[in-house]
């Protein structure tokens, strides 16, 4: 599973990255989590409010920081 956290480096983006890492461990899934900070890459997903969470190329959440539990549900 490929997970990307889109964000230009604000505090909410870091929080989302952290929550995602915790969710991956808690859900016990094989996943490659990466941060995408390049604006051209972010725009390619059509995202206008950061942070956003992308799982296997599909935008799951935009402009908010979902909790660890919510991300766990998205991972299934």
């Amino acid at each position: 599973m490929k997970i990307e956290v889109l964000g230009t480096g604000c505090s909410r983006c870091k929080q989302l990255h952290e929550n995602t890492m915790q969710a991956v461990i808690a859900a016990d899934v094989e996943a490659d989590v990466s941060k995408v900070e390049d604006i051209t890459e972010i725009m390619r997903y059509g995202v206008m409010s950061t942070p956003a969470l992308v799982i296997d190329g599909v935008v799951k959440t935009v402009g908010k920081v979902p909790s660890v539990d919510e991300i766990k549900k998205l991972l299934k």
């Binding site: 604000c10 983006c13 604006i39 725009m43 390619r44 995202v47 935008v59 402009g63 908010k64």
Partner: protein
């Protein structure tokens, strides 16, 4: 009722003397703190729910159909309800430009969105009353409309960083939310935001309380009263680089106004603080060439200064 609770806490529980400087400052502090936090919790939550119906992706689609003038008005109004944080300014700007929203209309949005925000409104309403809050929204929206129209007329498209025009945006499927999810998201938004701003609120109210209790009556009349023609531009100059923390600044300005600062000057100062800031300039430098950035700040600062003079003259 809140006022009674505050004076009970200060004068009865803490035993401070009524009319003493410390007592008055403490009373101001306790009353404002309770009132502001109650307002903040309720209104941030409600606005977060309302906002979930106006995601920026929708706003963009809506504005890209519009023309100038009507578009500027719509953009300024949508700026009130659309979520905006300065860290999203770049993707937002690119998204607007890419989908064909005129540059001037984009700027109307960029001005109104941070300036006319719910935190500023709550603080103004709670501390100054609803009239000042309404004047603030009204003039904020007007400034956004006019600045956007002027920037549009100047034809500054070539001063947008070139790479912006090369970006191709993908389509995002809009995620539909149930009402329950909206409430939950609103809670997830309100709690961290309050955690982030509470120290500024307390610090602002603290400084305001100090001025309230210790500064002599009318000591600002000479410097910042309606008679001093330089007070407004000076307030704007000081306010522009400051980072918008409406929550922290407004209690201070309330105390300043009480000590004789003119209403228009106070409004101009608050607008300068919320609408423009140094961190915002640094972020926008990523998408704007220096000339457009300076033009943008210049026009908005000029519009705010004029608004300040206007209200000093009529209020």
């Amino acid at each position: 009722m809140l006022a009674n609770l505050a004076s009970y806490l200060v004068f009865t529980v803490l035993g401070l003397a009524k009319g003493s400087r410390l007592g008055e400052a403490a009373n101001f502090f306790v009353y404002d703190t309770i009132k502001i936090f109650l307002l903040l919790i309720t209104i941030i939550f409600c606005v977060a729910v309302i906002r979930s119906y106006f995601p920026p992706e929708e706003t963009k689609r809506f504005l890209s159909r519009g023309k100038e003038y009507v578009g500027n008005v719509l953009a300024a109004l949508l700026g009130i309800v659309t979520p905006f944080c300065s860290c999203s300014a770049v993707p937002l700007f690119i998204g607007f430009v890419e989908s064909g929203v005129p540059l001037g209309v984009t700027f109307s949005f960029l001005v109104s969105s941070p300036m006319v925000n719910e935190i500023a409104l709550i603080m103004l309403w709670g501390l100054f009353g609803w009239k000042i809050a309404l004047i603030y929204i009204g003039s904020g929206v007007m400034i956004a409309i006019i600045s956007g129209i002027v920037i549009g007329k100047l034809r500054l498209e070539r001063f947008v960083q070139d790479y912006v025009y090369t970006i191709k945006m993908g389509e995002t499927a809009a995620t539909e939310q149930t009402f329950r999810e909206r409430l939950k998201n609103a809670r997830n938004y309100t709690v961290p935001l309050l955690k982030k701003i509470w120290p500024y609120v307390i610090a602002g109210i603290g400084i305001g309380a100090f001025i309230h209790g210790y500064a002599p009556e009318g000591f600002l009349v000479k410097y910042a009263g309606p008679q001093n023609p330089f007070a407004v531009p000076l307030a704007v100059l000081v306010g522009v680089p400051l980072y918008s923390n409406a929550a922290g600044v407004i209690p201070i300005t309330q105390a300043l106004m009480e000590k004789g600062m003119a209403t228009g000057t106070v409004l101009a100062f608050m607008m300068a603080v919320t609408a423009l800031s140094l961190p915002e300039a640094i972020i926008l430098k990523n998408v704007l060439k220096l000339r457009l950035l300076i033009t943008f700040f210049g026009i908005v600062a000029a519009a705010i200064t004029l608004t300040g003079y206007l209200f000093n003259a009529i209020l």
